[in-house]
Symmetry: D2
Subunit: 359 residues, 4 copies
């Protein structure tokens, strides 16, 4: 039910924080795609909690192993199993939390749902669940790039009160994004954001932020009318990520303030195709890509796990105080950048393969 995604390019993820490993099975990868572990590792490395001042101290190698579906460097068309072993298992850190559901965490709801929850960490609500996604997304991305020239680039556009200047959707690159540890291509804003994260950490607190993303070079025609509109699939994908609270495409919530005469994107003749002179639609009209860049923003709340003491109650309803001791990120958005890219890739590859039925 819950751990698979996609119709033709279908992934099934598995694993929680402290079991033997996390991973994914990907069914529907086109055959004869050149693929090796390094193709996948690059995005896993980008999502990995770094050994730096912004991330947690947990540093796992997160080395991916291809279990199946690839031979002599080419995909076979059969399911690709990918495994990343869990090396750092410290369940002891969380032991005391079993009596007290952590505020704004999933302990309480998992117990309500399953009558049990993983004794440590967030189980499937942990960010570690996203490893399988990112591994799968790296393959999706490679296919999209080689087949259509599609490029997907995400970046941090806000942390707390600090916003980045608008970036050039046509030219922004991952290299530019990764130039700052906070993954904001606006240098001045990046500095402010970094300071904000450091300050939050110093205060044993956490801070939220926004990740923006652009997908370039999509052919017109991707996305299915009615329920599987491109923006609906993207929204689904993004809100399935831990800690997300919002999604907007193109003009987004600001578009709801506008008049149609201002909001509409006039058609113009571009090289070899019709295009639009503005792009408040976000590259999508009627749920279908129109060939312009698809861009969207995803809101991430501040991480729920903080070192400060919090007033709360235990499962029996008794008032108590909770303060996290385990590792935790003060801000997830820098690490969320490759995860947002991966989910975009998973949406696009599936819609692209579906659209082939019409070829």
């Amino acid at each position: 039910m819950s751990s698979s995604f996609g119709t033709l390019f279908k992934i099934a993820t598995f694993g929680e924080s402290h079991c033997a490993g996390v991973g994914v099975v990907i069914d529907g990868v086109p055959s004869r795609l050149p693929l090796c572990e390094a193709d996948i590792q690059v995005q896993l490395d980008r999502r990995r909690p770094g050994g730096n001042k912004l991330g947690t101290e947990r540093n796992e190698a997160d080395q991916v192993q291809i279990l199946s579906g690839v031979e002599n460097g080419l995909t076979l068309g059969s399911p690709i199993g990918l495994l990343v072993k869990n090396k750092d298992q410290r369940p002891g850190d969380y032991g005391s939390m079993n009596q007290v559901p952590r505020p704004s965490h999933a302990d309480y709801t998992y117990r309500a749902k399953y009558g049990i929850h993983a004794s440590s960490g967030g189980g499937r609500s942990s960010a570690r669940e996203t490893i399988g996604r990112v591994a799968a997304g790296a393959i999706a991305e490679k296919f999209l790039r080689e087949t259509y020239g599609i490029e997907i680039v995400a970046w941090v556009s806000s942390v707390g009160q600090y916003d980045a200047e608008a970036v050039d959707l046509e030219t922004i690159t991952r290299e530019q994004v990764d130039a700052a540890e906070v993954r904001c291509p606006d240098r001045a804003a990046a500095e402010k954001m970094t300071e904000e994260i450091v300050a939050a950490r110093a205060a044993k607190d956490s801070i939220g932020g926004v990740v923006s993303c652009v997908c370039r070079n999509l052919p017109a025609g991707l996305g299915e009318p009615a329920f599987d509109r491109l923006e609906a699939k993207l929204a689904h994908a993004m809100l399935s990520l831990p800690a997300t609270k919002g999604f907007e495409i193109g003009s987004g919530f600001a578009g709801a303030r506008m008049r149609g005469s201002v909001h509409n994107d006039p058609f113009v003749q571009k090289a070899g195709r019709l295009g639009t002179s503005s792009n408040r639609s976000g590259g999508v009209q009627g749920g279908i890509s129109n060939g312009e860049p698809v861009y969207f923003r995803v809101a991430f709340k501040p991480p729920a796990t903080i070192g400060q003491e919090q007033q709360t109650v235990d499962y029996q309803g008794n008032q108590t105080v909770l303060a996290a001791k385990g590792r935790h990120d003060p801000c997830v958005v820098p690490r969320a950048v490759p995860i947002v890219e991966t989910m975009a890739a998973l949406v696009l590859v599936d819609l692209a393969l579906i659209q082939k039925m019409r070829s």
Copy 2:
């Protein structure tokens, strides 16, 4: 692919603006639910373009007919077919648009996707496609209400620059919402909104807005980890609606500005269960309902069809001017209210039935 939604409570909609009819087949409706056409008609009537100053002039009866699945006023557990005949078919109004793709409309993308598009109106991208959804949602809602006491209420929270005051999520009712034609329960704001819509119409223009929605009395435990989180399914459902540009749940984009110590919702003992003293989570933690009200906001862009002249190009790339002549709403949000409710109901009923596998 695109016209079905849901796993256990599964709907398949059909129909465009100017064919014989629109409707839906619903598979998975629990048996022995009392059901008659009036149960469905009430929401259809709420979504219908009214004969008033805010809506279009098109006034179709939109009478629903139950084709199957109900006998002697009870559901049989078999698929329920629902049909609403199209009465008002004026394809002539749109004839001239066949040479010119309407800006920010789906003409161009449908042609790119299918190599053809409905000769008139928006085809499946038209608001008329939502009739099948609303009819299905009315059944979902009835089941949710009778089984769990779930209440779903949406309202217009902004039109253009005008915002409603915060409403009481615990008590807001549809009656309060429907008291103003613009479906905003804040009377002062409702007046401003109405003026704004009338002004937009007078200017042959259109205006966007935001619909807010609350779902009360959910049991804890609805929503599936990883890809089918409650908020992910809601986001998918809402962004599958025509003209939507954004979705946010609980604290939403504002939450991305906050620190964790402020954002976290402390647990407290409530009558017979644990609850939270604040609800920035929006009733969802780790993708699973926690028993608090689920609330979210959906951004709608201004309708693309406007009477003003617009500079654009035809399919051959020749510069031209376009001005809509057919009927069109200056603002969709008042009519979107029951549609947002319906999509919420369709998400919740499916997750509720899935959760029964764990009973």
Copy 3:
């Protein structure tokens, strides 16, 4: 759940014997396919209970109406809604059966499943449910024929003890099949079969039979490894038909008697492709079509509804005697011929569209 079939060419059927109508919504029909109601009606007419000595006396026009998805004789790519109104509603005939579950009928199991069942007839277990399938299958077939030249022909290969001679899989046509009312192309066998059916009717009894089917001109490559093998999908499709008890492809159960040296199909060079000199595989190897004719057989039990008195018990367990009074077929296989063809078409079209993802 239960009333939809297919992944890319997806159908959702609805309707039982005595509601307003039966029909289907088909999502995923390729656009720009020429289509009119007559294209669909031809197979509906073939499945209709005839006014002849072999069928029941019920004679409904079963006229199909296209509700959506077609304009100016071309498919739009949007969902096609099809409706066949129920004209002959005689619930009174079945009234007495409400106290006594009919032996080998679905009354008892529907009540166990749903806590209710349609007051008359077999509800969704009735043959009338297949109307939606046949209507959808006619469209699938048209696409397959026009795109790949695929031909699907089924015939009655046995009734009771009487078997038809082997037919030529390469040349058998529907015209040859329909030459006899019993739909067996072997004239001598057809006479015996007809006599057997007439005898069964005279004895207020019923009789079983087998339908064989061949699908010609499939491209190599259709069918998905592991769970969605071509033969698995066909088996699923055929056993989803009322009254079926068995399915075999190629050598079938007889193949289980053979040695590999006899059973294997040697490859040979054929015009423009590799083929096999025998075809015990039934056109499928490893679950994927190899370009040879796909052929299979489907066993149908004798209809459960018979005029003879049967000893049974009522729902309270009291011994009683039951004899059907309503209309009923003594043998379903002649009418099952187009239904088997339709299910084959629905399987093939879906696999063909899926295979396009690899183009």
Copy 4:
């Protein structure tokens, strides 16, 4: 697409003969089910090619490792990843086959489908693909046994010309089945079957057979009308197994010879429920379980890989001779017994969980 199965209890298998490993991800396993590797290993051991006179010489430990979803001996409700490493990789044995598609094997069709195939062995068409299924099925079975008391027992009912006597469906056990290496509980037939297999091996040939299976103690009500009838799902599941050519339930093809008065199963009062005095229906009426034993038979062709020389052609169409050198079973049915059980369990668990939506 092809490597996942199930709606609520959903499995995704991966792996081919000579990659790092084979396995499965299972989503939807109910939480709090006691589970350890030994629960799974028992069926894996039964399916393993034995070191005996009937199986191939390949003897891999096939030790399963639980990667996720289980903690402290209880399932968490999260996806369970299972991995069995491939130890015996002898791709060299198959090298010569790359120029010549093996008759009745999947080499040719995989190449047609994917433009590539695994350089050795049968890729996903290999029996090794079933390891993931069997591992998943063992969990399904445990749940069914503990929740409903469901028992599933399969056995070899024919090899070549030799048929077993009818077994007692109410009492047959796996211990009785496993008493003979050929897994036929009829001792006299088992001897003949064994001789036949030994003879086929001696002749460098292979031989087909039939596996029968019974599922006892199903509650009434499992199976979904129309497309997901219990027998349709079983047929799908069984025909998705390598080397299968037919499926029949209850009276099967023999039922097609009968009259209704003989075939119908009269209802009788049984302890605490209605039952039937005969069971030609095979425990299913209208696609839904009626509480009587569900039993069915599956036909397996003789393995395509034989040591005898076969006349065939290479990919260029040149006449050649092929004789297999690698390991190969002369008869698959003894090993197929647990695989048939596993597929039955996978079907039943999914239908049982779906039926809970009606609780």
